[in-house]
Each structure stands twice: as C-alpha cells, then as structure tokens.
C-alpha cells in the first residue's frame, strides 16, 4: 500500500502546485483512515456474525457426527433434520402463543403508560417533575436478580388476598406487569427526551383553543410521537421476547412459559444434543431477526433517540 502511495505522491509533486499538494495529502490521509476504519468495522462485523453463523452451521449437522469426529471435523452430512425434530419436540404453537400473550399486552401497556408519564413530566411544570422522571429512570438500574424474591413473595401474598394463588404468580398477567414495571422507566426517559424537542408552541396553541388535558394528549401529542413509539415498540418487543428470567421465576407451569424456555425442552437430563439445540435456538431467534431486518431503521433510531437532544 505504501508503495502505491509513494508513486502517487511523486506524480503529484511534479504536476500540482503546493496548495493542491496539501489538499491531496489531506485526501490521501483520509483515504487511509477510511480503509483502517473499514478493516476495523469488518473485523467486528465478523466477530458479531460468527456466533450466529456458527450456530446455523452446527444446526445443520447431526449430533452423531460430532460425537464421532469432534466439532471441527469436516461435515459429511448437512441437512434440516434437526429443525424438524426441534419443531416437534418444542411444541412451538403453544409456546409462541404464550410469548404473544405476554409480549403484546406488555408492549402496549409500556407505550401507553410511558407516553402518559413523559407527557406529564415534560408538558406540565410542577415541583416534583424532575424528581419523578429520575425516579422512573432509576428503576431501570435495579438488577432483576435482586428483586425477584420479594416480587415472588408479593405475588403470592396478593394471590392469597384475592383467594387464588395463581392470580399473579404462575400467570401471564404477573409476567406482563413485571415487564411493564421494569421497562416503563426507559420508555418514559426516551419519550420525554423526544417530547422536549416538540415546540412548546404547539401545546400552547392547543391550550388556547381550549383543549382539555386528554384532548391535548390524545389528539395533539400522541400523533406527533409516532416515530419514537414505533422505535420503542420494536425495541421492547425484542427485549420482552428474549426474556427468560422472569418467566422462569414467576411461573411454575412449564406449558405457560414463553418460547425462550421451550428451548429447555431440547436438553436432556444427562445428554444434550447441542446440534438440535442450535436448531431450536435458530427457530426461537427467527422472529426477532425478521423484526430486526424489516424494521431496522426504527431500531437504530430507537437506540439513539433523544441521545443528542435530551
């Protein structure tokens, strides 16, 4: 590379005036920089893709072959047998239904409550609004592992109060509520950051026209919030979809748990067929991948939303 650059500079010296030469140098330096960055990005892209590609590759190979020849052996058989048996053993329809039953209401509630909260803390100034925003965001910092025992006990106690222990514990309702509680802080934070960028004049004119608080929110603000709501919706869906922890500790009946725990059905007590598991993991990951590729614009904007404006 340096050799070609040298030639370039020699030619340039002959033809160009000093000013042009300086510009050329800057340009060349930029080119080198770009190349280094490309290599850097390429390296990380491969590092990130590798696990997925490797999982996919493993999922195509039969376990017997791995046992006989080791993981690095040259593949003799590549087929989709693992997928068919994973699908039949995972009872996919039941578990996908369970996931939907938890994810959809949870995302809807998070967005609704989060936007209401953000609306209040940004559009109305009262003494506690910053403190309130902080409180909601701080909730995000608590690791779930820390609070799951108290939550579990609380769910049981509430269940006893109502007369049915399965009111919250071992019920989709309980898992939905805990997701709403945990993710609402983030939703509030993002939405309030975005809302601050909407000119106050819009609100003021709405108020002058005599809009009530609810009209102001539903008819004026909510339509303006469409882009961040779309991004957040996508993010939340994948996060909740991927959750394994809450469903495991707050549900006792396996057939009510979401798809992430169905993967456990592919591991045996003593033997685990990792190739079968790889196929199961690919199947379970498929919906999130589809969601990501279809809506990746919203995804990226969701991650940076409010980052520069907050």
């Amino acid at each position: 590379m340096s050799v070609t650059e040298g030639k370039f500079e020699n030619k340039a010296e002959r033809k160009l005036s000093k000013e042009q030469e300086r510009l050329k140098k800057v340009k060349d330096a930029q080119k080198v920089k770009d190349r280094i960055i490309s290599v850097f990005i390429g390296f990380f892209a491969i590092a990130w893709l590798f696990p997925i590609v490797w999982t996919f590759y493993s999922s195509l190979r039969p376990y017997k072959e791995i046992r006989a020849g080791g993981v690095l052996s040259f593949p003799k058989v590549l087929n989709f047998d693992n997928y068919t048996s994973a699908i039949s053993r995972m009872e996919l329809p039941t578990y996908f239904f369970n996931t939907a039953l938890i994810t959809l209401p949870a995302v809807f509630l998070i967005l609704l409550l989060g936007s209401l909260m953000a609306f209040v803390v940004t559009r109305y100034s009262f003494r506690a609004n910053v403190a309130l925003l902080l409180l909601f965001t701080a909730g995000n910092l608590l690791p779930p592992q820390l609070v799951f025992i108290p939550v579990f006990k609380m769910y049981l106690a509430l269940g006893d109060l109502v007369g049915d222990r399965r009111f919250l514990y071992d019920s989709p309702l309980g898992v939905i509520l805990i997701h709403v509680a945990f993710q609402m802080g983030f939703a509030t934070f993002v939405l309030s950051s975005y809302m601050k960028t909407i000119p106050k004049e819009i609100s003021e004119s709405a108020l002058v026209d005599g809009a009530s608080v609810f009209t102001h929110f539903f008819r004026v603000m909510l339509p303006l919030l469409r882009p961040p709501l779309a991004s957040l919706g996508v993010l939340m869906t994948t996060w909740i979809y991927n959750d394994f922890f809450w469903a495991l500790v707050l549900m006792s009946t396996d057939s009510k748990r979401p798809i992430t725990s169905a993967l456990g059905r592919l591991t045996g007590e003593f033997v685990t067929d990792y190739n079968l598991l790889a196929a199961g993991a690919m199947i379970a990951a498929l919906p999130t991948m589809v969601v990501f590729f279809v809506l990746r614009k919203q995804f990226v904007s969701g991650l940076t939303l409010g980052a520069t404006k907050g």
Binding site: R67, R89, T94, L101, F152, L156, V162, G163, D164, R165, R166, F167, Y169, D170, S171, P172, L173, L248, V249, S252, T253, D254, S255, K256, S261, G264, R265, T267, G268, E269, F270, V271
Partner: protein, 432 residues
C-alpha cells in the same frame, strides 16, 4: 392426552381473566372447591423430565391412575435442570400436587422447611413392599416419610464382556485394589485406556470420589464429611486423592474435555476397559444396539480397606413427593400411594422401558443379565449413598466441589491447596 392438557390450560387462562375482572367471585369458587371430599377431583402431576423414555413411563402411570380412580390428572413436564433450579419457588408457590424428586438430603432439605407433605400413612399401606434401606432413604430428619421411591441404579465399574474375553482378563474376579491396578496395567500394556473418565460436566468425577472415600474411610466418614461434620482438610481425605492419583496414569488424558457420554463412547468403541458410571447409561447402549447392551456388565468398585470391604454403593433413588402447598393434597397422596404400589409400578414396567424398581414386587426373573448384575452390586452393599450432589448442600456440590475436582485434574499435585480451599468455602457458606 396432550390435547386434554392443553384444553385444561386454556380453561385456566379463562379463569385467570375472570380473576382479574373480579377476584371475589373466584375466591368463592376456590373455597367451594376446597370443600370437595378428599381423594377425588382433579390433580396435577409434575414431571422433572422431558426425555422420551421416562416420559413414556410416567404417562403410563398417570393414565393407569386415571383409569383406576377416575380422577383427572394434568401432566406438567419441565426440563430437569430448570425444574431443579426453580424447585424452592415452585414448592412455595403453586406446586403440582405430586411431583417427581430424589431421596435423601435433597428431600430432607425441603421437608425441613415444611414444603413436603408427610406420607407416613402411605408407607403404612405400602411399606411392606419395600426393603428397609429404601424406607430409610425416604425418611426426613424428623422420622416421618416424605418420599416414595420409583427406581434406582447403582454406580459401579462397567466393562464389555466380549472385550475382556478377547484380552483374557477375568474382569469379574477383580475384587480388591491390587486386582484393579493389575487389570489396568494389563489394559495399558495392550495399548488401551484402562479407565474411561470424564469431568467436563463437573459431576462425573464425583462418583469416583464418593466410592474411593467410602472404600477407604467407610460410609460413616463419607456421610459426615458431606454433611460438614468432618473436615475436608482431614488426612483421610488426602488419602482418597492419593489413591485417585494412582488411577490417573490409566485414564484417558482428555478428562476435562469429555462429558460423560464422551467417556461412554470410549467404552462403546472398545477403546477403554472400564468405565465408572451410574448404570442408567445402559439405555444409551441399548439405543446403539441390543448386542451392545447385552455385552455390558457391572461389578462393584474394588475393596481398598478390608475394614469396610465393599459395603457401600452410590445408588441414587428417584421417586415422588407430595407438595404441602398443592391444590389437592388428598388426591396427591392417593396418587403417590398408587405410584408406590405394585399396581402402579407394573403400569410403568409394562411400557417396556428398562427400569429397576425399588418395589420388591417386581418380577426379578424378567431381569436381563445386566439388571441381575446391578442387583448383585446392590445386594452386596450394606449402605446406600445417594451420590455426592444429592448428599450435600446443593450450593456446595455444583458450584464449589465441581470446579475443585476439575482443577485437581489440571494439577493433581495441588491436593492440599484444593482441600483447604474447599474447607474454607464450606465454612463461608451461609447457614441454611
């Protein structure tokens, strides 16, 4: 069967929506359900397996019970590791009425917390069908029974008859430590692995430790050590590792790269003479071929200290418990009684899945040669232990002993450091 269960779940979901709408109405309904006479009505059964063969057995048991009692049973299966890790919450929350579990310390731990139902009266009815050692293993620290055994399997030295014949080794005559070392040297001389070993999973080597400790120091010391009444830094424990080290030259060198099934492959492919493991893996030989299964044989681990002979065996006992917080404990107890009774056992045996039942009523004349040998290993032992990770605190076995043994394999000369660290980690455990 499955359709029925799914239907049941949907009903429950509807019920839950109702509960969300108006809790009071449901409260009334639950109270009414509570008035139903004991030993009838629907119940649920929790299986701690999703594997094919055991599922077949358990579903047969459940079906037979439903036919006999008319009580509908919901069958809830959970993968064994998830079930085990979540058991404490499971039992405190909304457990199934009857569930599959293990005997010994693991059962006593939960019985002490009042999470298991006393089934002493069930034992009054079916106790005559079991020998005393099983009753002892089913008894909690308060002297009451909390467990009904289903099946057992012994740990021992496995080998292939045909392979030993070819070599000219009378493997069944291996009685004591010197015999064993002699046989291992013979195998090594033939360019074979003497003893197939694995410890990638962290639990495989525990069986070898158990038996060496019991052979050298006796049953009582072993049990006391695991219960924390003896110290890991004791010179007697060091003696165990000194003997273990003598086995290392005859083992495969990739112990930490293999899980148990990798070591099993060494035996299956006749690359290794012996394999120390629980007999349950016979099922995998059978999957391979009937011929391989018929070739399989087991002998007790050899005697090391004549004072203790071969009087102890690791024989984990699987079975059932009734959850104290279940919705229908009465039916749960009725079910566990059926499962322990010969009638229920027969239903499981009729599936054709090999099982060595704990019930004396099982027709032993139908045992195959391998099962007869397993029985002989059991009969020779006076004391039964449940396997290290079932005989000590769960938070000590998996997270502490497992990695300690693995690091010992990396550097066997560090025995003293490892034992000291084991003891200090035991001392640092929070009281239960």
């Amino acid at each position: 069967m499955l359709n029925k269960i799914t239907g049941h779940e949907v009903d429950r979901r509807l019920l839950l929506k109702g509960a969300a709408a108006g809790g009071l109405g449901i409260a009334g309904a639950t109270m009414l359900a509570g008035c139903a006479p004991a030993a009838s009505g629907p119940m649920s059964f929790g299986a701690r397996t999703v594997d094919e063969s055991p599922t077949q057995q358990l579903e047969a048991l459940v079906a037979a019970y439903t036919v006999k009692s008319g009580n509908e049973v919901a069958y809830n299966a959970t993968e064994s590791n998830a079930f085990q890790n979540n058991l404490s919450q499971y039992l405190q929350g909304t457990p199934d009425d009857c569930f599959q579990w293990m005997a010994g310390y693991r059962m006593q731990f939960f019985a002490e917390q009042g999470l298991l139902e006393d089934v002493s009266d069930v034992w009054d009815d079916i106790g005559s069908q079991y020998s005393d050692s099983y009753k002892i293993a089913s008894t909690g620290l308060d002297g009451k029974q909390y467990f009904v055994p289903q099946s057992w399997y012994p740990w021992g030295l496995h080998f292939r008859k045909s392979m030993m014949e070819e070599i000219g080794l009378a493997a069944t005559d291996v009685y004591n430590w010197d015999d064993m070392l002699g046989a291992l040297a013979e195998l090594k001389g033939q360019g074979l692995i003497g003893l197939a070993a694995a410890d990638k999973g962290g639990w495989e080597a525990m069986g070898t430790f158990d038996i060496l400790n019991a052979r050298i120091n006796g049953y009582q010391f072993h049990v006391d050590l695991l219960a924390g009444r003896e110290k890991w830094t004791d010179s007697r424990v060091k003696e165990v590792f000194r003997h273990w080290e003598m086995l290392l030259p005859y083992q495969n060198t990739n112990v930490l790269d293999l899980e148990w099934d990798g070591a099993m492959q060494l035996l299956l492919q006749k690359q290794s003479g012996f394999f120390m493991m629980g007999s349950w893996f016979g099922g995998n030989f059978k999957e391979q071929s009937q011929e391989d299964y018929d070739d399989l044989m087991i002998i007790p681990f050899p005697e090391i200290n004549a004072d203790h002979g071969r009087d102890t065996v690791d024989a984990p006992l699987d079975g059932f418990c009734v959850a104290a917080n279940g919705g229908n404990t009465g039916v749960g107890k009725d079910f566990i009684k059926f499962a322990g009774d010969m009638e229920g056992v027969q239903a499981m045996l009729d599936t054709g899945v090999p099982m060595t039942s704990a019930n004396n009523g099982q027709d032993k004349s139908s045992y195959d040669a391998f099962q007869v040998a397993q029985q002989a290993v059991m009969d020779e032992a006076k004391y039964i232990t449940q396997f290290l990770d079932r005989d000590t605190r769960p938070d000590f076995a998996g997270p502490i002993i497992g990695p300690a043994f693995q690091s010992w394999f990396k550097d066997p000369s560090s025995t003293n450091d490892i034992l000291e660290s084991l003891q200090s980690q035991w001392d640092a455990l929070a009281p239960l």
